[in-house]
């Protein structure tokens, strides 16, 4: 993945992307076990990961291109007149990675776990509501079984997305355009 996305130089960044991917994947998957805890459901954790990626990407870009790096904020072939408008937009979109990368992972994990908790609570409430409730309680249980499978997908997918976006950002840093 790192070579595919970043190019021939990508193997230099492979250990970093590898570690990041498996840290996120383990956090997501272990969090699905009962009595476990999903550390990727805390924005402090995901934000720290994203900050590492962001700082690394910026440092790589500055090291490889020096001050030429700032030409990244000027899209190729843009009219001279539009440059004062485009540069702030590009800068904001660059900085917004720092928000979008952690929030994507954090929101996915929190949403899934809240859903499961809500349906598990339904299950307990219905089961304690009498004879009819015990039979009705099978429906939240079915939903939870489906949700667990769905969460497994989301766990792997979000880890992949996190690593893939890191690769894309590194690609931008290495090639600028």
């Amino acid at each position: 993945m790192s070579v595919e996305q970043i190019g021939p130089q990508g193997s230099r960044y492979f250990p970093f992307v590898f570690t990041l991917f498996f840290f996120v994947l383990m956090g997501n998957l272990l969090g699905l076990l009962p009595y476990s805890f999903t550390y990727t459901s805390h924005i402090a954790v995901t934000f720290a990961l994203a900050l590492t990626v962001f700082v690394l990407v910026t440092i790589v870009a500055l090291l490889l291109h020096g001050l030429h790096f700032f030409s990244y904020f000027v899209p190729q072939g843009a009219p001279k007149l539009l440059i004062p408008v485009l540069v702030p937009i590009e800068a904001i979109s660059y900085l917004s990675r720092l928000i979008s990368l952690p929030v994507r992972l954090f929101a996915n994990m929190v949403a899934g776990h809240v859903m499961m908790e809500v349906f598990a609570t339904f299950l307990v409430l219905m089961a304690s509501a009498g004879a009819v409730g015990i039979f009705a309680a099978i429906f939240p249980q079915i939903v939870n079984v489906i949700l667990i499978g769905f969460e497994l997908l989301v766990a792997a997918l979000q880890a992949y997305v996190f690593a893939l976006l890191t690769c894309l950002y590194l690609h931008d840093a290495v090639h600028l355009h």
Partner: protein, 75 residues
Amino acid sequence: MAAGAEPTIDALGQFKLHTVLGPLGASVNFTQSNLIMLIGGALMILLLWFGMKPRAVIPGRLQAVAELPTNSSTT
């Protein structure tokens, strides 16, 4: 959750951090989150360690799993 007299839906309580490993963990604020991080890291190291051990040309099941990330990134 539903143990109290008035059962309510407490969906966010699961994200609360609490310290583990008794007073030792509490003194350095070692939470269950950190514990799972360590377990996850240890699992990965174990998988790679034992997965790479056989060094077979035709990998077994565990070795195939351990080699998967490196294969997909170098080809």
